[in-house]
């Protein structure tokens, strides 16, 4: 062995080091999209409803991702937590850190203002904006707009209806073919041993209810939301008091469910299917939810969200999911192309059939496949409800405003005519940094 020759053990170590380096480099290349160099777009999605046992192949948003993957790129999904607040936290922390691991994200409309204002979102090209605006329901467009521009692309739109047991409404003598008020259904339920299911836990769902009640009375929680923490707080109004009166009435009536103060979209499902079940306000997924329970399903009725004030058309809640593109993505052009595909009518229709989450596109409601999957009058109710819906204010401070409302309007039994004034002053203090949340 010459002095220049490395020692055998050193040679082995060097060989191992080279092999390890090659393996690591290979791993990095694979992570970048495989040996072909085809990029992988990562789409962070909110969880879809459970996949039916007999469903084959990719389901929901994963199914859209599979269908929208092309020879140029592959879309893979990463699931976010189920809770909207936790989704916001995870996304915002990653985006603030400039994480390039997110290309696309499913975003609740209520976070559009905050994320767009923070500069987390890549601007949508004008052509994509104008094409989306022309085909999307007006409520969904307003929930996706920030600074006069479409900040995200609407995928599906959600709204709440008043779901009721037909037998109960008949027994109570209510004519459900006409608009009904909160007062009417609370009284009907109280006097006939029934309950009214609502979302009154201390969470975003309670803000959804309060916003719908205030908007239904012709008011609003804030105005000039674009002014951020200088927005005008308008909840302390006649409309605010009328909204408070509804919550006061329900929470002190026999129609209130025992767990009213912790009720959410899920907790109201069970009581509705019992003999005490009468009414509930809830999102569009309810129809599919009761399919397995034939007795409840056959007795299930639906109509427009209840009026806060008799004679004044209700403003149902608006929800849904929009697609945002990470400003820090390294595949922006591909992300734009993917967004066009994800939000196409065909995908919105198929997604609605699979999950019960309704399309954001107006024309999708005429799609034959969707009309086959849902009764015509239910689709008509969804569509008209979405057109009349009142989105929550699109504000970078909505999270603060919503939490401030929850703090002052919770528990529901504490709500009275002075609550709107208290909440207005508390929201103002919070926005100005004078009070903690």
């Amino acid at each position: 062995m010459s002095p220049q020759e490395p020692h055998p053990s050193r040679r082995i170590r060097r060989t191992l080091a080279v092999a390890a380096a090659l393996a690591m480099a290979g791993g990095v290349l694979t992570a970048c999209g495989g040996s072909s160099g085809k990029p992988t777009l990562t789409w962070y999605i909110n969880p879809d409803p459970s996949q039916p046992a007999n469903f084959k192949g990719p389901f929901g948003q994963a199914g859209i991702a599979a269908r929208c993957s092309t020879s140029k790129y592959t879309i893979q999904v990463q699931e976010l937590p189920g809770d909207a607040t936790q989704q916001r936290i995870q996304l915002a922390r990653r985006l603030a850190a400039g994480d390039t691991g997110i290309d696309l994200m499913s975003l609740d409309p209520v976070f559009t203002g905050e994320f767009a204002n923070a500069g987390f979102l890549a601007p949508l090209p004008d052509s994509l904006q104008s094409s989306l605006k022309s085909v999307t329901l007006p409520g969904a467009v307003s929930g996706a707009t920030w600074g006069g521009r479409l900040a995200v692309a609407p995928l599906w739109a959600n709204t709440q209806l008043l779901w009721y047991r037909k037998s109960f409404a008949q027994k109570a003598g209510l004519d459900m073919s006409k608009p009904v008020t909160w007062d009417q259904i609370i009284k009907a339920a109280s006097q006939n041993g029934g309950t009214v299911g609502v979302q009154a836990n201390k969470y975003e769902g309670y803000s959804v209810w309060i916003n719908a009640l205030v908007a239904g009375a012709g008011g609003s929680i804030i105005q000039n939301a674009a002014k951020g923490d200088n927005a005008t707080i308008t909840i302390d109004s006649t409309a605010g008091k009328q909204a408070a009166a509804v919550i006061d009435e329900l929470s002190h009536s026999k129609a209130a469910e025992g767990d009213l103060s912790v009720s959410n979209e899920g907790t109201v499902l069970g009581p509705f299917a019992t003999p005490q079940g009468a009414f509930q306000v809830n999102w569009t997924f309810i129809y599919a939810n009761y399919k397995a329970d034939k007795a409840t399903f056959n007795d299930l009725g639906w109509t427009r969200y209840p009026e806060t004030v008799a004679g004044k058309p209700s403003r149902p809640p608006l929800g849904g999911i929009n697609i945002g593109i990470n400003k820090a993505t390294t595949h922006r052009a591909d992300a734009y192309a993917a967004t066009r595909c994800i939000t196409s009518e065909a995908n919105q229709v198929r997604y609605a059939i699979e999950t019960g989450n309704m399309p954001a596109r107006t024309s999708a409601y005429n799609a034959p496949d969707l009309r086959k999957a849902y009764p015509a009058n239910l689709l008509a109710a969804f569509r008209s409800s979405l057109q009349a819906a009142a989105p929550r204010p699109v504000s970078p401070y909505w999270s603060d405003i919503s939490s401030a409302i929850q703090s002052t309007w919770h528990p529901p039994t504490s709500v009275n005519s002075s609550t709107p004034q208290k909440s207005a002053s508390f929201i103002s203090d919070v926005l100005k940094g004078r009070k903690l949340l």
Partner: protein, 311 residues
């Protein structure tokens, strides 16, 4: 003279050796010190620095130096004091109950003869369960529709039927404290068992021979000799209970005014992205924990002195 020189030389050699040893010691601990500074001190310095700013993660344009403004806002806010009171109530109630039950468990574990290992393991199981899991279990147990608490204990006058445990402040606080006590009593009993094993059996036997009753032996012999163990257990648990977060996050998410100081800090930093205000809260939380530790250590010293008859 020769002796003095020799002594001086020996001393100098010893001094050189000590310096060399110190240098070696410093080199050996340096990596650990660097790691400690990086993972502990640096974040604390960062928190202290951030606490002097108005700093919101999602509103990049709205950042400013506010000095002690965040502290002034916090200390003048009723929510901060309400949450601090909640935290103190949870700490005092849970630690007091855990002390009693934990001591009873420790006595049982100390005296147990049959299947000793199995029995000790059974008592310690709750402590081995991750808090998030146990909190979910208790949340389910207290739920109105299908929780066992309402179903099993409805005959108790303060429970009755159809109790919405998360419907008001005190019911919700009760549920949280039950889950905390269930989870951490084994830890308390473990520490007390160690203290109990240090009490001289001869002393207890002598008291028995002298005619002391069981209660007298407990009060006059066992407890005074366990004072140090009790105070260590109380100190550990009090500091832990003061930082309660998981149970509240899982069971109530702070609803019905059940927020603790840690939860308030979490809300500010993680949910509201108010990094400045949240950092100020975390600094105050740190100072509160130090204060509690200081008070308990003072009590501990006084008690030890009293136990030695020095007071």
């Amino acid at each position: 003279m020769t002796t003095m020189v020799a002594t001086a030389q020996v001393k100098a050699k010893a001094s050189d050796r000590t310096i060399a040893e110190n240098r070696l010691g410093l080199k050996l601990v340096a990596p650990a010190v660097v790691v400690m500074v990086l993972v502990t001190a640096w974040p604390m310095i960062q928190a202290l620095y951030l606490s002097l700013f108005k700093y919101r993660l999602t509103v990049p344009d709205d950042r400013a130096f506010t000095g002690l403004g965040n502290y002034a806002t916090i200390l003048s806010d009723s929510l901060f004091w309400k949450d601090t009171l909640n935290t103190i109530i949870i700490m005092i109630v849970t630690v007091a109950i855990e002390l009693v039950i934990g001591f009873a468990f420790a006595m049982v574990m100390h005296r147990i003869v049959f299947a000793r290992g199995l029995m000790r393991t059974a008592i310690l199981i709750p402590y081995g369960i991750i808090t998030v899991v146990s909190a979910f279990a208790w949340q389910f147990a207290f739920s109105l529709n299908n929780g066992f608490v309402d179903g099993w204990f409805h005959w108790l006058p303060w429970i009755g039927t159809d109790t919405n445990w998360y419907g008001d402040h005190w019911h919700a606080m009760f549920a949280i404290m039950v889950s905390e006590i269930w989870k951490t009593t084994p830890f308390m009993s473990l520490l007390l068992l160690a203290g109990l094993s240090q009490v001289s059996e001869d002393m207890i036997e002598a008291a028995k021979v002298d005619g002391a009753t069981w209660t007298q032996r407990l009060v006059k012999v066992i407890l005074p000799n366990m004072r140090a163990a009790i105070m260590v257990a109380v100190l550990f648990r009090a500091l832990d209970a003061y930082r309660i977060f998981d149970n509240i996050f899982i069971m109530t998410k702070g609803a019905q005014d059940t927020e603790s100081s840690s939860f308030l800090t979490y809300r500010q930093v993680i949910e509201q992205f108010q990094l400045g205000m949240g950092s100020a809260l975390s600094v105050l939380l740190f100072l509160s924990v130090l204060l509690i530790a200081f008070i308990l250590v003072k009590l501990f010293k006084v008690d030890l002195a009293a136990a030695r008859g020095e007071a």
